[in-house]
Structure formats: C-alpha cells, structure tokens
C-alpha cells in the first residue's frame, strides 16, 4: 500500500465535511500579486488537511490556470500542468465533450464563462451554522480588500436534510475510497491514490501526469522531488484537480414531464408510477435504495447502500435500466465485452470523488410537490488526477454519448440530454421489461450549466510555496 502524506493533502478530497452543512465558495481575482501572496501565505497556515478535524471551520483553496499565472508562476512552470487545467473548461472542443451548448453555452454562464470576469482562485469555507459562516465571511471580506482580492462571484452551498438534492434524490452515495486515506469503502470502491492524487501510482500502476518545476523560482527547497524526472521538483505531489460546475435544476419541468409520461389511461396522474419512472432513470429510489435490490417498490428507506453489482443480479437491465444515471456513470462489473472482474477493473479507471452541495431554496421535490420559488440546483464538484480520463470521460463517453452499451439513442436522462438535438434525432430512455423494451421518448433537458471551472488543489506545502514565487 502506498503511504499517503495525509497532513499535506487538502481535506475536502478525502472527507466530505458533512459535519459542516453550510459552505461558501469565494471565486476571487488577484489584483496585486505580491499582496495576494501574503494572503496565500496566511491561508496556507489555516488550510484544513485530511488530519485536521477539530477546527471550527474548514478551509480549502484551489487555483485556476490563469490564477497561477496572475500570481507570477513562470510560463514554463504553468506549461507543465495538464492541458485541460491550463485551458480551463471553456474551449470549443471541451464544450462538445461536456455538452455545453444552447442554454448551457458558456456565453450564458453567471461565472467562469466567456462573458464573465476571469477567476483566479477559489477559497472554500465550511461551517456548522449560517450565523458562524456569515461572521466568518465579514472577516474574510475585510482580508480580501486588504490583500487586493476581488470577489468575482460567491457560491452558497448547503447539504440538505437527508442529503437530498432538489429533484428529491439522496446525493453522493456512490463514492470511491482512496486506498491509504483512512476512509475505507466496499472492495469495489477502493481505488489507488494516483487516480486522485499526483505523486502516487494510479490504477494503471503508473504515476499520473504531474507538473514538475521547469524554471526555478521561489523557495524550491520546500518542494518534494519529482518521482520520475530526476533532479526536478514536483509541484503536483499531494495535489489534485477539482472540477466545479453549477447546475441549475428545473425541478418543476422534471416532475411535470414524468407525471405526464406516467399518466393513467383515463388521463389522471399516477404519482406512484411517476416516482418509479424517476427511480428507473436514476437507478435508485429517491431515498437512495438501489433498484437492483428493490426493483418494484420504493422501500421508503434512507440508505447509502453501494454494495451491489449488475452481472449476476440484473444482466438484462430489467431492474435497473442500462441507460439510468447510476448504471452508466458507474457501470461496476457489467460491460458486455468483458467479464465481471475485468469490468470492475475498467470501471476503477474512471471514478471521481464527488463533492456536491445544493444551492438555493431549501426544497425537496417529489411527484406531488415540485414548485420551488427560487432558482435551485447543485454545485457539482469532483476531484480527480486526470480530468480528461475521469470527469470528461464520464461526462462524454458514459453520460452524453447516446450509444452507451448497445443503446441507440439514449443519453443520460439527467445530465446528457441535448436541449436542441439535430432534426430527426430521437432522445429516449429505454426501459427493458420482461417481454420487450419500453421507451420514454422526447426526453428534455432539466439541468442547465450556470458556471464552471477547473481548479488545481495543491498540497498544503505547495500552497505555501506559491506565496514565495
């Protein structure tokens, strides 16, 4: 087992901070690099690492590519980062991979898009009560002014009762467990640290691409040695990449659509069927119970059960459709071209550590109640060491790609549906039943991207190092 330097790793990667239900993500711009470095030096002492569990509030920090540049990182040193990170979320090709068109187009975003101000760094704070975090915010804002940091945007996140997001589903159940991090999961969820952390070996048993220092700058004695390129210093070790996307949820649209599609023959609504259809699309009941274990009826329990596979229990997708969100974004042991053991190995190469908070009105929707007043949605976040092979792969090859497995025209019903498909293109959700397939066609998009960016989350030491460059 690879030994992890837990006191170097920012805590949000390993712990979900569930004990801190309120959070604020400050998206900041650097006005004056030398002042900003002093701020970063102060923050580096307050960063919550994996081992810091007793603080009153948790603090983590991430940088964008343009942020590192604004801070004064040499061009050649920035160049050593992966292209996904350097280019950011908004490029024509990445828009195609992520499906950011029409209403999702970055020109319509509230932050991080083509018409918004550049984001340099993100300060994330987590606290136990709204009151505490407000006090903390006042203090922080004073510091932002003092150190020349402009608050470009503020995201307010919360974890809701029963951990449900606004559509009504319990969130973040299926998570990988990083081997050596102290968190353990079921066997199939235990993943090599190099899938999430630079400087450690990944599921291919090689080191992920990690930025080494090309041009010497700052106090390089603080930096660890590069494990591959001898004589070079490693900026990446114990660091990771964080993907953040603000996703607006059209709760009313979603449940109205399902209610319409599951009507009784006499035209009246059938809310039980509607909930069942929603569960088929998700792959779990709203409370989290997996469909492979409870295929017919909502057991009405709240659960984080992630201990299930598909090959033996549901090879034909009769319980949990192939096109459902959870089955396609984590196919577990069931690729048709490989056996269960090999499939599990393949799946392990495309996992992400999800870190999700809800924003907007505290509201849990259902088939019978689905009209929140304000804009609602989630702050979808995830950690990975290879944005291209993990987050982007899952979003494109498994969620957006309508030909996943043997399907013909089935995008992920939650996050893959195109708002304006090309003329004649069907978007459907296929539900295998014993005799034949049932199809829900005319799928609509109920999730809209409102902002997004890729961040580098350095180790605690590298955060401090950045204040010396």
């Amino acid at each position: 087992m690879q030994e992890l330097e837990l006191s170097e790793i920012q805590g949000f990667l390993v712990r979900d901070y569930k004990e801190m239900p309120v959070s604020k993500y400050f998206l900041l711009q650097i006005g004056d690099a030398s002042k900003a470095k002093r701020f970063i030096e102060n923050i580096s002492k307050k960063i919550t690492t994996v081992v810091d569990k007793d603080e009153e509030s948790f603090i983590n920090i991430g940088f964008t590519g343009i942020g590192l540049s604004a801070l004064g990182l040499h061009e050649n040193n920035l160049r050593a980062f992966t292209r996904e990170f350097r280019e950011g979320m908004v490029t024509p090709h990445r828009q195609r991979l992520l499906g950011d068109h029409d209403s999702n187009d970055p020109s319509n975003w509230d932050w991080g898009g083509t018409k918004n101000e550049g984001i340099h760094l993100m300060l994330m704070v987590f606290n136990s009560t709204q009151e505490n975090i407000n006090t903390q915010t006042q203090q922080l804002r004073k510091e932002f002014v003092e150190y020349g940091l402009k608050e470009v945007f503020l995201l307010n996140g919360e974890t809701f009762p029963e951990g449900r997001e606004h559509f009504g589903f319990r969130e973040s159940i299926s998570q990988p467990a990083i081997i050596g991090s102290g968190v353990t999961g079921i066997q199939n969820d235990n993943i090599q640290p190099g899938e999430f952390l630079m400087g450690y070996k990944n599921e291919y048993n090689v080191y992920p691409d990690s930025p080494s220092l090309i041009n010497e700058q700052g106090n390089i004695n603080m930096l660890p040695d590069d494990p591959i390129e001898k004589g070079k210093k490693d900026l990446g070790r114990n660091g990771t990449y964080f993907v953040l996307r603000q996703l607006k949820e059209d709760v009313n649209g979603f449940w109205s659509f399902l209610n319409e599609k599951s009507k009784n023959e006499d035209g009246s609504f059938n809310h039980e069927e509607s909930t069942k259809l929603a569960a088929k699309m998700m792959g779990r009941w709203p409370g989290g119970a997996p469909l492979v274990k409870f295929p017919d009826k909502d057991p009405g329990i709240l659960t984080d059960d992630n201990d299930f596979v598909y090959t033996d229990t549901d090879r034909l997708g009769l319980k949990c459709p192939f096109g459902s969100h959870v089955r396609r974004t984590n196919p577990r042991d069931n690729f048709e071209e490989t056996g269960p053991a090999e499939s599990l190995q393949l799946t392990k190469k495309h996992r992400i550590m999800r870190r999700v908070r809800s924003y907007g009105e505290k509201y849990t929707a259902s088939a019978t109640q689905h009209t929140p007043v304000d804009e609602v949605g989630i702050l979808f976040g995830c950690f990975n060491a290879d944005i291209n092979r993990q987050f982007e792969f899952i979003q494109y090859s498994w969620a957006n790609y309508p030909k996943f497995k043997q399907l013909y025209a089935d995008p992920d019903p939650f996050i893959g549906v195109k708002e304006n498909p090309e003329p004649g293109v069907v978007q459907q959700f296929t539900i295998p039943t014993e005799a034949h397939n049932k199809y829900i066609d005319g799928l609509k998009s109920f999730v809209t991207v409102k902002g997004g960016a890729y961040f580098f989350f350095p180790s605690r030491t590298v955060v401090e190092y950045l204040s010396t460059i």
Binding site: L97, K349, R389, K403, Y408, A435
Partner: protein, 420 residues
Amino acid sequence: MISQNPLTLLTPVRQDCIEKLNEILERFKVGLNVGLNERFNKLGTLHYARWFILREDSFRDKTAFPLPERLVFSSNFDGGEDEHINGLVTIFPEYFDELYECCEGYPEPGMRNTETRKSYLSKWKVNTTAFYVGAPGRSLQQIKQEDTLQKYLWNIINKNNWDGKSALEIQKFLREKVNADPELAWSKESVNTPSTNWPGMILMVLIMIILLPIIIPWILILYFFYERRDTNCTATRSQLNDDLVRRLEADEDLFNQNQFTQVLVMKPGKVRLITVHALMLFARTLIKNFFVKGKLMGIPTIHFARWVLIDNDKHMMFFSNFDGSWNQYLCDFIDKSGWGLTGIFSNTVNFPETRFLFTGGAYDEEHFLAWSRGTQILTQVWYSAYHHLSIKNIVNNTLIRNELWKNLTEEQAQLFLKRI
C-alpha cells in the same frame, strides 16, 4: 456475402501545387457538411474515405530518407477494387480531376476519360498490410436497410400498448407488419454473418506451439539486443505541442464517430522487419478467423482499421474509424489489447519502453497516450456514410433482421425484442 475492402493511394504532389491542394481539401471538408456528402452517398458502396497530405514533417520522428509530399487517399468499400475506382471517377470525376491535377503526371484535360483516370489512380495504389472490418460481410446497402428496419420496428413497439402480450405474440405482430410492407421484403432473406473459425484457430495455436523454439529465443534476442537499447517515448500529454493537439481536437466529437490517422517510422534492421511482418501475419490470421463479430481484440467500437507499410517497409500508416471519443478509444486499446498493440507498434521508433515484445509499452498509460497523440496527424477530409450508427448497432441490426423471421422460443423472443 459481400466483402468489404480497403484502398490506399499514395500520389506524389506537384511542388507548385501544395498550397492549392490544401485549399481544395479544406473546401472538401467544409463541403462534406453541405452537400458533398450526398455525392459520396450516391456511390452506394463507400463506407468511409479520407484524404490528407503526407509530408516528411508529418512524422514526429526522423524518417528513413527524405520524403516527397504525397496525397493519401483511403477508402473502405464493398466489392471489387476495379469497380470501386470506376465508381469514384464516374460519380464525381470533377472532384478527382481537381484534386489530382495537383499531383504529378495526371492526364491532361483532353486526355481525361474514365479509363485514363482509373489507370492513373491505380498506378499509385499501395498494398494494405493488415485490415480489420467490424461488421464483416455487411454491405453499405445492407447496413442502411437494416437501420431502416430497426427504426421501423422501434416505431411500432413505441406506438402501441403491449400489455398482456407475450414476446412471441409481439414478434408475430411485427412480422405481419413487415410482411405487409413490400419495401421491407428484402429483410425476409436471412443473411449469414461469419462465425469464429475454430479449426483454423486450433491450427494456428498448434503452429505457434511448434514454432515456440524459435519464438522464445527470438523474443529474448529482441529484449537483450534491441529493446534494452531503444530510445523510448517519455513524454506526457501535457508536454505535447498544444496547437497540434488543438487542431486534431477541432475535428473531433462532431458526431458519435471519430477517425484516427497515425504515421510512424519503423525501427531499422532485419530483426525488427521480420518481427513486424510475422505479427502482421498473426494479426491477419486472427482478424480473419477470430475477430469477426464486431470486436478487435475485445474492442467493440471499431468499424474499420488498417495498417499499411510504405516506403519499402520503412514507414507505417495506421487508419481507423471508431465510435466515441479519442480517449475512450485509446483507453480501450490499453485495457483490452495492450499486448497486441505493443507487439506491433513497439517496432516503430520512440514507442514507450517495451519488454519482451508484449509487455510494458501500451500499459505505460501516460506515455502511451502521449505517444499516440504525438504521432497522430490531421485527417484533412473525412467521410463516414453512417456516423449515426455504432458498430454495436450495426451488428445488432443484423441479428434483429434474422431473428425477426426465425422461429424462436418465448425466451429467445424476449431477447430479440430487447435488441430493438
């Protein structure tokens, strides 16, 4: 059963015409989205085609000798080669004229007719070293017909209520509907799809066993005297030329299919040459006898793939047409056929460090991905006759067609209906 075949043309470009040729190719590329594709469709037998200019600097590594600029054309088509070339120059002679006027020795305007055009193109043909077909035996016409049938059946199932009906009853209903539609009469003729040639496979394994006393020392010699002295790719993806990768990405993921063109320099020496030829023979045998059901070494997304050794075996081109993203395609290669890929490509210059011909190499994920991207070149014009269909869809559609008319048990009928 019709056979699908590859054609590769390598035509020297006139020195004064390179810029013009690039412009024409650019125009064709744009044209494919606005009408030109209909001309290609008209051919009725063309699955995929591509054009690009191959230059010395297309190769990331130093070529074996100076190379002239050449226009490369590659196609995947049904039936005979002569008929195919004939189709190309009769259906769109003006396009071929415009392109190949930029190449050396193209017939003067007064001398152009089907025959002179054909003989010109045929002159530049190069042999394909190994060729893989995802859906062997399926002509373009068959693929399109079966696509229509699948959509037709889907529509019936989607529009009707089947409560209380058994799968066999539904199958019967579908049959009656199709039977009543004369346009679908073709579907009643059952088609054969190739099956695994087990005797051939057993024979191959026996031959391999007999040859083991040669193969094992050969691999050891390779390791101790060649592989350990190789220089290898140690680049990561982040170190690649950004502009180059961006140019490649600009043409990717526009549809559900993509293409890949890679050009490589072979490692020098007879030992390497014999190795690669032996492996190509091995690949051809496996493709013909074993990989006949839509998967190339377990990879279920490849429509066509081709290896072409050129320039007296000094350089190699690899072409493929596949479903999904570049990343998924390359990850599939590592996960499912890393050893096979390593066996072949480790005989090219600068491949990631390989041991004993089949290990290391592609399994060195980061370096392998960087090597793949780094040796990929821009395909200037790419045509696909059916970019809305995955190879899984195509294989499945043939099964739907056959099973629709078969006498099935209730259980088999249930599986049949789940294909739709």
